[in-house]
Amino acid sequence: MRFLKTVCLLCITSLLLTSCKSDNKKEVAIANNANIYVKGTMEAELTAPPLVPAPVGNRSAKKLLVNMEILEKEGTMTDGVQYVYWTFGGSVPGSFIRTRVGDLVEFTLSNHPDNKLPHNIDLHAVTGPGGGAESSFVAPGHKKTFSFKTLNPGLYVYHCATAPVGMHIANGMYGLILVEPEGGLPKVDKEYYIMQGDFYTKGDTGEKGLQPFDMKKAVEEDADYVVFNGKVGALTGDGAITANVGETVRLYVGNGGPNLTSSFHVIGEIFDNVHIEGGDNINKNVQTTSIPAGGAAIVDFKVDVPGTFILVDHAIFRAFNKGALGMLKVTGEEDKALYSGVKQEGIYNPEGGTIQTMPEEDKKEVVVKIIEKSLAQKMKDGKQVYGQTCFACHQAEGQGIPSAFPPLAKSDYLNVDVKRAIGIVLNGKTGEITVNGEKYNSIMTKQSLTEEEVADVMTYIYNSWGNNKTNVSVKMVKDVKNQ
C-alpha cells in the first residue's frame, strides 16, 4: 500500500515536472529560430521604393546573399531644390530587403569609390553588436561582408551609424528589412514600400538651388522637409501607388527620422489590420498609426471604392507645407451604397494666395476715419495684392487663360459694372458668364482681403491693360459689402 502511494506521488511529481518543462519550451520558442535549418543559397531581390520584392511564401530558410552599394549623389528635393543624398542602393529610402525567419543573411556592403566618406549599416533585424555596424564600417572603394541569422519576424529599419550618425541618417541613409514569419504573411493583392524622413537645409523650405545640410536645424528638430520616399512628390502624380476596387493593399511603412515621429494616416481609408510597430501584435480598424523614428508598421486594408486616397503624416502642417503627402489611386466601379459619390465642386487653395483666417464673430464695428490713398499709392499696393492673389489665374497682363479663367484686360464684363466686380471679389462667383463674347464657366472663390486691399487691387485692375480707369474707393467697397 505504501509502495503504491509512493508510486502515485512519484507519478504526480513527474507529471508536474514535465508540464513545467513544456511551459518553459513555449517561452523559449523564439530562441529556437536560431536552430531553423538553412538549406541552399539564393541572391536576394532588392527593390527601390515604392516597390517591394516578391513575397517569401512558404520557402525554406536559406542562405540569402544581399549585395548593397552606397552612393553619395545629388538629387531633387522638390522643384528647383537640389540636395546631396547619401543612399543605400541609390534610392531614399534604400533598397527593400525581404527575408524570412531563420534565413542566414550574408550581407555585403560596398562603398562606391567616388564617395567621400566611410559608412556602415545598422540593421534593426540583426541580433549582434551595433546591428552589424561594427562589422560593416567601410571606406570608399572598399566592401565588407558579414552575416546574421534572422531570429525575430517583423518589419525593421536599417540605417547608417557612422559618426556623425545623425547627419548620415538626415541625408537619407535608411531603409526597411522585412523578416516574414514561417509560411509568410497572409496573401494580399498589392504591396508597397513607403518611408518617411525629415530633412534640414541651410535655406528655408522651398529656397532654390543646391541646399547644404544644416546641423543646427537638425539638432533643434526644425525640419524644412518632411517627406515620403525621399522627396516632395515622390508618391504623387506619376509616382502615385495604385490599386483596383476590391483589392487588398499592404503598406510597409517605415520612419527613418532622424527626429520626427510619424502619425501615418490614409485619408478616406481605415486600416483593417496594423502590425503595431512592425511586430506581431495586430490592431484592427485603425485610423492613424504612430510610427516612431527608427520604427515601422505594416498596415493593410481593402479598397472598396474608387478615387484618390491621400497618404499623410497627420501632423498636418508637415503634409501640406513640408511635403509629407502621397497618393493611392484606386480605379474601378463606384459603389454608391458605400459612398454616394456626390461631390461638391470647388477650388481649394491649400496655402497659396492670401493667408486664410477664420471669420471673427462679434467683432465690434470700430468707426475709423477712412483716409483715401493717392492713385499712385493704390496702384503700387494693388499691384502687390494682384501678384499674390489674382496672378495665378488671371495671369500677369490680365489676359486670363482661355476657356478657364476670364481675362481682365479690356474686359467688357468688368468695365460695365464696378459694383458687380467688387461683389465678385468679396463674395466669389460660380456659374456661366460671358466676357468679350467668350463663355466661361468656372469658380472664383471668395477672397480674404481687407476692404482697403480690395480697393487697391480693383483700382490697379481698372487702371491697367486698357480698362476704364475707375478709381475704386474703400467707401465703394464698404457700400457693396453692406448691401
Binding site: P118, P129, E134, A161, A163
Partner: protein
C-alpha cells in the same frame, strides 16, 4: 658688367629652386591646441616643423615610381597596397587619360605615401600636426569657431570628384599652406590612433581608450561635425587601403 653681376646673383638665387625639384615647404610655428577629441587638460603641444605647401601631385609621384620601381603598380607588394592601388593609371609609368599632372595623387596606400616622404628626407605629418595646420583659415591660426570655416569644408564634402582639381585651387591659409580642405583627404602617420571603430556609438564607455572616437561625449566641439567626418574617415582605413579621395603631403622636422 653690372648686368652680368645681377644675372649671376639671379642664377645663384634660382639655382636651389631648380636643383631641388621637391615641392615647396613652409615653416609652421609650433604651439598648443586642443584636438577634437580632448578637453582642456588634454592640450597637445606641437613643435616647430615644415610642411609641404601643396599635396603631392600625380607628376611628382610619377617621377617617384620611375625612380623606385618597387612602387609601380605591377611590382608593389600586395601586403602594402590593395587592388585599387594606382588603378586609374594607364600603365606602371603612364597616368590615366583623365588624370592631370597637377592634380593630387590619390589611390596610394599609407605604406607608399610614407616611403615617398622618407625618400625625400621627410615624413608623413601626425594627425595632430595636420589638424593643427588645418584649423587655420586665411587669416587666423585657429578658425574652428567661425561659421565660414566649417561651411567651406562642408560644402567641399558635397562637391563630387574634387580629386580632379589642380593643386593650389583652394585658398592659402594662415601658414601659407594650400588645399588642406577642398581637394582630397590626406594620409597621416598615425591615422588610426584616434579610434573610431565601426560602431561609432558605443565608444562612450569609460573603459575604452582615452582618445575614444565617440560621436558624442569626449569631443570638444560637438558642432564641428566636419572634423568628425575626417576622424571617421581615418578610422575606416587600413594602411594598405587606397582611395580615390585620399592623397598626402609630407612634413619635415626643423
Amino acid at each position: 658688367m653690372r648686368t652680368i653681376l645681377r644675372l649671376a646673383i639671379c642664377v645663384l638665387f634660382l639655382n636651389p629652386i631648380i636643383a631641388n625639384c621637391q615641392s615647396k615647404m613652409v615653416q609652421i610655428k609650433g604651439g598648443n591646441y586642443i584636438p577634437l577629441y580632448g578637453r582642456d587638460s588634454m592640450k597637445v603641444s606641437i613643435s616647430n616643423f615644415s610642411m609641404d605647401v601643396y599635396p603631392v601631385t600625380n607628376k611628382e609621384f610619377l617621377a617617384f615610381v620611375k625612380k623606385y620601381p618597387k612602387w609601380q603598380r605591377s611590382n608593389a607588394i600586395k601586403l602594402f597596397v590593395d587592388e585599387s592601388y594606382l588603378r586609374e593609371w594607364k600603365s606602371d609609368t603612364i597616368l590615366g587619360v583623365n588624370q592631370k599632372e597637377k592634380s593630387p595623387i590619390t589611390q596610394i596606400s599609407w605604406f607608399a605615401a610614407k616611403d615617398y616622404c622618407e625618400c625625400q628626407g621627410k615624413r608623413l605629418p601626425t594627425v595632430d600636426e595636420w589638424e593643427y595646420v588645418a584649423m587655420a583659415n586665411k587669416t587666423m591660426p585657429d578658425a574652428r569657431k567661425l561659421k565660414t570655416y566649417n561651411e567651406f569644408i562642408l560644402s567641399w564634402y558635397e562637391k563630387p570628384k574634387t580629386f580632379n582639381k589642380t593643386i593650389g585651387s583652394t585658398f592659402k591659409n594662415y601658414w601659407k599652406v594650400y588645399d588642406l580642405h577642398g581637394l582630397v583627404w590626406e594620409w597621416t602617420s598615425d591615422f588610426n590612433s584616434v579610434l573610431i571603430t565601426g560602431e561609432s556609438r558605443k565608444d562612450v564607455d569609460a573603459d575604452t581608450n582615452l582618445f575614444c572616437g565617440s560621436a558624442a561625449i569626449n569631443a570638444t566641439d560637438l558642432m564641428n561635425y566636419a572634423a568628425f567626418m575626417r576622424y571617421a574617415t581615418r578610422g575606416s582605413l587600413k594602411a594598405k587601403y587606397t582611395m580615390k579621395n585620399l592623397g598626402f603631403r609630407c612634413v619635415k622636422d626643423n
